[in-house]
Every structure is written in C-alpha cells, then in structure tokens.
C-alpha cells in the first residue's frame, strides 16, 4: 500500500469511526476490569486476615485454659500437616527470643523487633502485615499476636495461592478484553461502514451526474436518518438542476425560433429600402416598421429576463401595502377602450376595499396580462368578468371570459415559455405572457390556476397572500 493510500485511510471517516469506537470500548472495559480486580484482591486479603486472626485466638484460648506447652504441642501437630514452604509458626517472648519455630529455611530471616516495639507502643494485641522476602518470589501475610504472658505467636502464610488465584482472573479478563476489542472493532467497523457506504453511494451518484446522467437519483429508502435527509436534499437539488437545464434548453430552442422572425422582417425591410429609389414617405414607413419590430424584440428580451429573474428570485421583492381594488379598477379602465372596440362587456365584481401587502408592480403586471389575454381571446359580444374576494387569509382574483377556451391537450402547457396553442397563433403575441404571470405569481408566494372549456371560455384564478 502506498503512503498516500495509507494517509487516505487514516483520514477516512470509516477508519476514524472504527478507531474511536474500539478505543472507547477498550478503555471502558479496562476500567471495569480494574475495579473488579481490586475488589477480588481486597476481599481475598480480608478473608485471609480473618483466618489468621481466628488461628491466633485459638492458641490464646489453649494457653489460657492449659499452658504454653499444650499450645506448643498443638502447633507442632498442625505444622506437621502443612507444607513448611507455605506456612510457618513461631513462638517468641516479648524480647524477640524464639521459643519455638517451624522450619524457616524457606523463609529467610524475618525481622520481629520493630513490630514488637510498635505493638507495645500501640498496646495492640495483634498486628497483620505483608512480608516482602528477599529469598522468595512471592509475598506472605503474617500475623503477630500476643497469645499469653510474655508469649507472642507469629503465623505466616504464603500468598502464592492467592496470587495464582488472581492470576487466573487476570488471564480470564485478558482473554475477555482482547475478544472485546476485536468484537468492538468489528462492530464499529460495520456500523461506520453502514454510514459511509450510504455516503459512498451518494458520492457515486454525484459522480455519475457530473458525467451527464442527470436523471439519476440517490435511493433514500431504508437508510440512516441523516443520510436519508442528505439524499433527499441532494435529490431535490437535482430535480431543480434538471428542470432548469430542461427549461434552458427549451428556451434556447424557442429564442432561436421566435427571435428569428422579427430579425428576418427587419432585415427584409432594410434590404427593400436599399434595393430601389423610393419616395420619402415610403422610407419613413420602412424606418417606422423597423422600430416597431425592434420594440417587439426588446419587449421579448425584457420579458424573458423578467421571467428568469423572478424564477431565480434575484431581486428581493419590495412588498408594500396597496389597495387591490383600485389597482384592478385602473387596469379595467385602461383596457376599457379595447373592450368597447371589440364590443366585449367588461364587468367587475369587486368588494369596496381589499388591502394587499405584496409587490405592487408585479401584481399590476399579472393583472394586466390576464385581463389582456381574456380580452384578446374573447370574440365580439362576449363578456369578461374580473372578480376579487378575500377568503381564509388569501385573496382570489378571477378572470372569467366567454372566449374560445383552451383544449385539454394545450392546458398543461400554457404556462410554458413560448408555448402557443394552434388557435392562438393567429392572435400574435410573444408566447411569454402567461409564463411571466406564473413566474411572478410564484415569486410572490402566490399561485395561478386555470379552468377552461373549449368554445365556452376560460377562468384564470390568481391567489395571493393577503
């Protein structure tokens, strides 16, 4: 494995998580073991001390009831049964002279003066201590007890047995801890892998998408919650990117097509003006037509930019409170001559007042566009009704006409940029009006809805927050 791979591994989440898990587990079990071990040790020692004390009491009683000789013969009897390397018995006077002793060749010299002086000073009748012996590997526990007048008994017991007993525990725990470390590392690795594998999949999907597979999505079902959320956010972002890409492509196609026609007309007019000498009125006419075509183009480009900006939410909308009824009446007033010329009955059904807090310019443009559309697609002697009402904290503005209507096949597409129904083509227009309405309505956190029946009419409903 190269150095870089090693470093990558060290920096990987999988490695870090596993390590963290294993270390935490090991430290915790080691602490647990230490506490346990210490408890066993102290309980064993306590037990031993109680035994030693009981033994010394036994001889105190014998001396009291009989005499020192009786005790001595009893000690010899008992010492016979014991291994002299494991236990020793000694009888001393207060000066430290040895009156009786079992075979001490296994034990080496044992200092007694200090302990006797200490006992006299403290007026204690017995003292238990642990002996470290130079000649032996193990330790011994020894009791020094006054068993009779000027008689001191010392019983020593090797701790070898206790050590062996504790060693077994130590071994057992070592095996347990090692297996715990192994198990915890594996468990930690599995857990971490579960998390990182999910992430790995998100990464792989992202890589595929950067290579052009925009329709790929991360599977989010049955994953860890955080990963599910990451995946959902990721997918949401992809949806948005995909729809933006799609609309960009459509727009490009349509721009090419829809901008070409006015440009072709401008070019045609300019060419005609150069081909043959004409009188000044004709030239003026051509110049005027050129300006009109240019204005159409400029309007189209501006509207496209307006839609894009609204969709991207570039310009923070300046919201202000305004009187919606006044705005609608002004728009109707503005279009009144158009309705009159087409003999369309333009009606309103409005309350006395409706205060709205929104972007006035945008609402004005939405209303104008919808009103204009209604008038455009309604034949002579028809009717257009604009109504508005507040309802459950929303404001509904309806534009109902008795016009040509929109067919079911066209209905889902009418808000798309440059989409024009076959029957509306003859009416002119940029094919951007309704896209703008939708983009503006949505940028104002409102919505636009349409119901329509062919040859009966359409109803557009704009819903705004009050």
């Amino acid at each position: 494995m190269s150095l870089k791979k090693l470093r990558d591994l060290k920096n990987s989440l999988l490695f870090r998580l596993t390590l963290l898990y294993a270390v935490a587990f090991t430290v915790l079990s080691a602490i647990g073991f230490l506490i346990f071990y210490y408890r066993i040790y102290s309980v064993t020692m306590e037990h031993l001390d109680i035994e030693l004390l009981a033994e010394s009491r036994k001889y105190t009683d014998i001396i009291k009831e009989n005499n020192v000789e009786a005790a001595l013969s009893r000690i010899s009897e008992e010492a016979e049964l014991e291994d002299p390397a494991e236990d020793f018995y000694r009888l001393l006077n207060f000066k430290g002279d040895i009156l009786f002793s079992t075979d001490m060749s296994y034990w080496g010299p044992i200092a007694t003066q200090d302990i006797l002086q200490k006992m006299q000073k403290e007026e204690a009748t017995s003292k238990i201590q642990t002996l470290d012996m130079e000649e032996r590997d193990d330790q011994a526990r020894m009791i020094t007890a006054i068993v009779g007048p000027d008689t001191v008994l010392q019983i020593g017991e090797s701790l070898e047995e206790v050590d062996e007993y504790l060693d077994i525990f130590l071994q057992l725990f070592s095996i347990l801890i090692v297996s715990l470390i192994i198990v915890s590392t594996i468990t930690g690795w599995l857990l971490a892998r579960r998390a990182t594998m999910d992430m790995q999949e998100v990464t792989e999907t992202a890589a595929e998408i950067s290579n052009g597979a925009y329709d790929r999505r991360v599977q989010i079902k049955g994953r860890l919650m955080e990963i599910e959320r990451l995946g959902a956010t990721f997918n949401h972002m992809l949806d948005r990117i995909q729809s933006l890409l799609k609309s960009m492509k459509e727009i490009n196609d349509n721009i090419a097509h829809d901008l070409r026609s006015p440009l072709a007309r401008i070019r045609g007019i300019a060419e005609m003006s150069l081909l043959k000498e004409k009188d000044i009125e004709e030239y003026k006419d051509m110049a005027a037509s050129t300006i009109e075509e240019c204005d159409t183009l400029i309007d189209m480009i501006n509207t496209m930019l307006d839609i894009t900006e609204a969709e991207a939410g570039v310009n923070g909308d300046k919201a202000e409170e305004f009187e919606l009824v006044k705005l609608i009446r002004e728009a109707c007033e503005l279009f009144h001559p158009i309705a009159e010329a087409k003999m369309i009955h333009l009606k309103t059904d409005l309350p006395a007042s409706l205060a709205v807090t929104s972007n006035r310019k945008k609402v004005q443009r939405i209303i104008t566009n919808l009103l204009e559309n209604a008038l455009k697609y309604t034949p002579a002697d028809g009717a257009v009704t604009v109504s508005a009402a507040a309802q459950n904290g929303e404001i509904r503005i309806e534009f109902e006409d008795t016009g040509m209507g929109i067919s079911e096949t066209d209905l889902p597409h009418i808000f798309e940029r440059f989409y024009r129904c076959d029957r509306s083509r003859s009416q002119g227009g940029t094919g951007l009006g309704l896209s703008l309405v939708k983009a503006y309505a949505e940028s104002l956190k409102g919505s636009i809805h349409v119901q329509s029946a062919v040859n009966k009419g359409s109803r557009f409903t704009l819903i705004l927050n009050a």
Binding site: D295, T430, G433
Partner: protein, 225 residues
C-alpha cells in the same frame, strides 16, 4: 445648454450627439472614462450623460469622483444593465436618472430636459397652453377656443403629459410609465386607443389638428404651421 456625453460605443454616441444637437444642445463627447472625468472636472456642464461600462475608468467611479469634487451637475446613466440592483447602485453613487439600453431617443431627450428643468427649478405653472388649447391644472378643466371639453381622468392626465411635452415626441413607453404608472408595454395598444378618444374630443371638431402620430416613435402635441 452644454451637455457632456461619455459613451464608448461610436454608433450610439453618433446618433445621440446628432439628436441632441438638433434639439439645441452643445454636446461634448468623451469616448472613455478618463477623458470624460477630465472634461467633467474642468468644464462647466448643465448635464452629463454617462455610460456605465467604459474603458479606463468605469461610469460609477467617474460619477463618484465628480461628486467628490462637489460638482452637482445632473447625471443621467445610460446602461445595458437593467436589474433593479444595478439601478439602485447607480442612483446611490449620485446620479439622477437611469436609462436602460436599448432606449428610444425621444425618451432620452425627455429625461435630459426633465433633469435640467429640475436642476434649474422652474416653478410649476398652473395653466398649460398650446395654440387655442388651454388646460387649467388647478380646476382640472380643459378648454379649446374657450369651449369647455369634458375629459375622463385618464384622458386628462394624458393630455396634461402631452402638453407639458408640447413639441416633443413622447413614446408609448413614456406614456405608460409617466401617465399611468405602468412600467411595461402591454401587447394591446392601449395608448393608441386612448389617443383616439382624446383626438375625438380635442381635434375632431376643429380644423387645426394638435395631436399627431409619429409612426414607430410616438405622439406629439403641437401646432401645425
């Protein structure tokens, strides 16, 4: 009136210069920001028209520099940037108006004249008169040859705007924006329809016509010689 034009696009500069000279302005032209700043700081101008994207020194810096030298010449920005943010940035630096390219020359002229009027503080008249047409701003009444003409509010404000700009061509966009406060052009020609109504009332019964259409550009109210 002396006018400074700072514009690097030669063709746009040429038609603006021609148009403004025809309208009676003495025009100095600078093709980059450095020359423009030099002229603005050394010559007294009544108004400056400045493009934003300029070689050497950009328009906003130029305007800031001019204002820092305490020169209060009104400035109109011409720019291809049309977002609200850009407009606000432009106006914050100390310019007085903002016109987006492509623009109609008639609109540029009207805005330039409006800025000059504002800076020279001509007091608002209470009456507007063109030939035998008289508009009383206080009583909101209109007379032609001493005969009262009754107008709808929308028609009254349209006529007022035409009379304030008497002799100058105003575009449909300008009418939508200034008269009715709509900052866009509907597809349907609502201005044309309203002008027709106004003609019926103002011109129909009189021999000399006052409201004229300039095809492709807009409308003008003037006395025909």
């Amino acid at each position: 009136m002396r006018l400074l034009l700072v514009e690097d696009d030669v063709k746009i500069a040429q038609f603006v210069i021609n148009g403004l000279r025809e309208a009676g302005f003495a025009v100095d032209h600078a093709a980059d920001g450095e020359d423009g700043l030099h002229l603005a700081l050394t010559e007294p101008y009544d108004i400056a028209v400045v493009d934003l994207m300029l070689p050497k020194i950009d328009g906003l810096t130029l305007i800031e520099e001019v204002r820092r030298n305490n020169i209060n010449t009104p400035v109109l920005i011409l720019s291809a940037k049309r977002s609200v943010g850009d407009r606000v940035k432009g106006l914050k630096t100390g310019s007085d108006d903002y016109l987006v390219k492509p623009f109609a020359f008639s609109e540029l002229l009207a805005r330039v004249q409006a800025l000059i009027r504002r800076s020279t503080r001509v007091t608002a008249p209470s009456e507007l008169t063109v030939a035998d047409l008289r508009l009383d701003l206080d009583k909101r009444k209109v007379f032609r040859a001493d005969q009262e003409i009754f107008l709808q509010p929308l028609e009254f404000s349209l006529l007022e705007y035409l009379m304030r700009n008497a002799g100058r061509v105003v575009s449909k966009t300008m009418i939508m924006e200034h008269v009715w406060d709509y900052n866009f052009n509907p597809q349907t020609n609502v201005v044309e329809a309203r002008i027709c109504y106004l003609r019926d009332k103002i011109d129909k019964n009189f021999d000399s016509k006052l409201i004229h259409t300039v095809r492709g550009v807009g409308y003008v109210l003037k006395e025909t010689s």
